[in-house]
Every structure is written in C-alpha cells, then in structure tokens.
Point group: C2
Chain length 310, copies 2
C-alpha cells in the first residue's frame, strides 16, 4: 500500500472518530444527514496536510486530531450548502445523491449549519487534550499557558479562513457573479479562487504549524505554500470540468461551459492553465524546503495533486 | 430613562461595535446582509443577560463583550435561516423584510453561514483581551492560564448550546414535525422548547458566569435559571401568536393556528400557559437568590419578560 493510501486511511479513522453519534435521539435525522455528508469520502486533503505539517514541527501527537476533523467538517458543510437548490442545485456528488437530495432541502440546510457549528465544538476538544497532557506531565504553568495560546491561535486561523474574509467571502462573489451574469475580471476570478478554495487549504497548513508551536515567520511561509497549493488545486478543478471523466470524478462535468462560467481555463486556455498549476506547485515545494522536519511525505502528497484525474 | 432601556442601548453599542465593516470589498454584499439582519433590532435579551451575569460575579469588564456580540450573531443567524423559503418561508420580521426577501435566498443562506462563523471569530477576541489585560497587569502565568481556561470554557458552552445538542437539535425536530405533519407529544414539544429556545438563553447565563470565574455548581445553577427563563419565554411566544398584536410584534400572528401547529397553548390552554410562564419565572428568581452580587437589574430584566406584549 502506498504511503499516501495508508495515511489517508489513518486520517479517515480520525475524522470518523469525531463525528457525532445519532443514537436514538430526537435530533437523529440531522446527525444522520451530517454524517452522510462527511462519510461520502473525498481526498481528506485538508486534514492530511494539517497532520503532516504538525508532524514536521512537532512529531506525532493527538492534540491536532480535533482540528483535523473540524476542518473536514467545515469543508463538507460548504459543499452541502453549495449543493442546495438555492445555490448550485446539484444532485450528485462523489458518486451519490447530495445531502439535500437525500434528506430534503430543509434538512440539507440544517445539516450544513450543524456541521459548521460542530466543527467548532470539535476543535475545542484540543483544549481538553492539552489539559490532560499538562496534568499528566505536570508541566509548568508557563508551558500550559503557551500550549493553550497555540490552540487559541489555531482557532483564530480556522475561523478567519472559513468566514467572510476567507471561504464564505469567495463564495459570496461567486454567487453574485452567477446571479447577475457578471463577466468576471481576472482579478475577481483570482479573488474567488483564493478565498473559496485556497483559504481552507492555507488554514490546514497554518493550523498544523500554529498548534505545533511554529513561529510567526514560519506560519506566514505556510500561508504562502497553502496559497499556491490551493490556487493550483482550483486550476486543476477547472481543467477537470473540461477534460475530466464523470465516472472517475463522481460528478458531472461540463457544468462551467453549460453555465457559461468564466474559469481559469476559459481565461487562459488549457495549456497555460496546466503550466500554471505546475509552476505554483513547484514554487510551493521550494518554499517547503525552508521549513524544519522531514518533507518526504508532504512532497509525495502535494505531487499527487498535480495533474490529478479526480 | 429606565435602567432596562439604558442597558439595552449600551448593549446595542457593543453588538454594533463587533459587526464587520462592509467597506469596498468583493464580499460586501454578504457583509451588508449580515449587518442588515443584526441591526434589525430586537430585545438583545441574550447579551443583556450575559453582561448582567458577568457583572454579578466579577463587575464591569471588557472581556465579556465579544461573547455578547457573538451570542447575538448566533441568535440572528438562526432567525435568518429559519425565515428561508425552504424552512418557514417568512417575509416579515421585526417590522421589515426578512434577509432573504431583501437579498435573495442564496445571499440569505450565505449571510446566515457568515454570521454563525463570524460569531466564533468574534468570541475568540476575548482571548486577545485577556492577553492584553494580563500583560498590562503583569500577572502570574497561573492567573493568565486560568483566565484563558475560563474563556475556553465559555467557548465550549456557546458551541454546545448552539449546535445539535442545543439550538440546531431543537430546530431539527421542529422541522421534521412540520414536514411530516407529526402530532407532537408533550415530551417532544418540550424538547423543542428546551433546545430551540432555552439553550441559547442558558448559554447567556452560563457564559456570563464561566467567563467571570464562577464555579461548577454556580454554572449549573445558572443553567437551571436559563432553562426556566427560556421555556417561559417560548410559552409567552406561543401565547403571543394567539393574543398578540401584529403591529406591536412586528410580525404576523396566527401562524401556528394556520399551520395547525401544536404549541404549548394548544396543549394546555391560554390560562394554564400564562400560569406556567409565571411559575417558571418565579422559580428562576428564587434560584437567583443563591448567587453572589447585586440582583436588582437582573430581576428587573427577567420580570420585564413576564407577560410581555412583543
């Protein structure tokens, strides 16, 4: 089994471990819908990046796990709300019915709300893990305080990159553009890519670093790496909407063309897009070299995205 | 000017201070829609309760302010999403158009998401205020750590009471009941009231206490007070849907009857409902007596809810 496959399975276990239990409760339907969305699979790219960044700076440790699950919940809630009839009206994702298609649009809305909120409930569990660890090793109050601060810093990054100055902000311009049939400028399109897609990938790198005690300059470098990887990822998505195979992708292609949507590919052409995807990735790998720890798996992970087919 | 009016105006200023600035940005529409929803007015009950509980335990202090704004944002996001066509399909709230009616349902959805996420961004600012305060007074790391812990505790309460085990959980059963024309049992109706309405009012009391350093038993008592006040508040809402004046309420009445919805009033009758509202409030005031600090304004605030007309 490849290291990527092995790590993805490990991450899968961690994400599942933090999902709520539907049990026999009055709110079991919304919990089922939340879990249906999260367990639909996917690359688990954000938690993989976060865990590996944390390892580079600090090694293996449980404290990062709640944030790994949390970022995947936020990514998933954004897909669940995107798919709703009032936004993209999509019925198929990752080869199965979208959440609202299966549970109705009222429950799709609530499942998204539930996931976003549960992401914060989950990330906050890192504080408990730190408290447990501190009392276990009977560390000094200075150490305890400083680890608590790193957790607060990670929460701030998550909230900032997920919200109106990050993912939701990008989503907003994207929605306005389609509602008003706007022809996006290159700058506007880049704003959408940076915010809607790259912000959460930046958060994955930055939170991994922040939680592990990385310094300010190192976190800024992680932010730049995340920017490059995030924008490259979105360029690839735009390419796949043209040249991808619906069976491999688990979703329909050609939707951008059908919607006459301006994308990186319509602006720059396929060849230039693929060249830019490669350049952004290579720049990210160069930036990575200035960071501590072993980089073998991070390089493998980032290279696996380049030219991906789904 | 009555003390209640004066305090409400103070709280209003604090809530507005923490709203995002739309400026001239690509995401200005979603920010405008968020601010439109929050500035629609309302009683500001949750931040009022939170501030007064904090005062009882610790006195006047800036650290509670971000949480006061945050809880109002969460309350508002829940109304914005509730009003959407896929849920209640309401067009009028607090005497003006609902958010989706004014900005379209795609932007209504995003404004709700933006508000929920921004609530956490905002609450996290309490950590900054604590850091500033600690460095200002050059306190011991033990003190700094313990204040940080109280802030983490407040965040946990907020996330728990706003999510699937709180507000979203209550909303879920309420939605399922209307979609499936379920006749609610008394126990199910109470579950909805406890979760959809009381949970966030409990959070207001509990966060005020937790942030101010209240002990475990005191926070449990605050939770019970919040339960009583929250359920009494919802009973009053059910009464007002029957006997309220639409002009005073700023929304349409009779919707429960029209929807053949089972409410506290349909289950117990108007007279019993009003008696229960009073009993729950009086019990809360008795519980309050066991807590430290001055209670004059808290009593005035809670009594102002009893038999309210809007």
């Amino acid at each position: 089994m490849s290291e990527l496959k092995r790590q993805t399975e490990l991450v899968e276990t961690i994400v599942l471990k933090y999902l709520p239990d539907p049990e026999d409760r009055h709110q079991h339907t919304v919990i089922e819908a939340m879990n249906y969305s999260v367990t639909a699979g996917g690359k688990r790219l954000r938690p993989l990046i976060m865990q590996e960044t944390y390892r580079m700076f600090r090694g293996q440790d449980e404290v990062v796990e709640p944030f790994m699950a949390a970022i995947e919940m936020i990514h998933t809630y954004s897909l669940v709300h995107d798919d709703l009839p009032s936004l993209d009206n999509d019925t198929l994702r990752r080869g199965r019915e979208t959440t609202w298609k299966k549970y109705g649009d009222a429950m799709g809305l609530l499942a998204g709300d539930g996931l976003l909120n549960y992401a914060y409930e989950t990330a906050l569990k890192s504080f408990d893990l730190i408290e447990k660890e501190e009392s276990l090793f009977d560390t000094s109050p200075e150490t305890a305080y400083s680890r608590y601060q790193s957790c607060a810093k990670a929460l701030r990054i998550l909230a900032d990159k997920a919200g109106i100055n990050g993912m939701v902000g990008g989503q907003c311009l994207d929605v306005e553009a389609s509602l008003n049939n706007m022809t996006l400028t290159e700058e506007e399109l880049l704003f959408i890519h940076e915010h809607k897609t790259a912000a959460l990938i930046q958060a994955a790198f930055m939170i991994g670093g922040a939680l592990a005690g990385a310094g300010k300059r190192q976190i800024e470098r992680l932010e730049r790496i995340g920017y490059n990887i995030g924008v490259a990822f979105q360029i690839r998505d735009d390419c796949l909407d043209v040249i991808g195979d619906p069976a491999e992708l688990g979703k329909n292609t050609g939707s951008d063309e059908k919607d006459e949507k301006r994308t990186y590919v319509t602006l720059h052409g396929l060849e230039q897009s693929e060249a830019d995807e490669r350049r952004l990735t290579e720049e990210a790998l160069e930036l990575l070299e200035g960071l501590p720890g072993k980089h073998d798996f991070m390089v493998e992970l980032l290279m696996s995205l380049l030219g991906r087919r789904n």
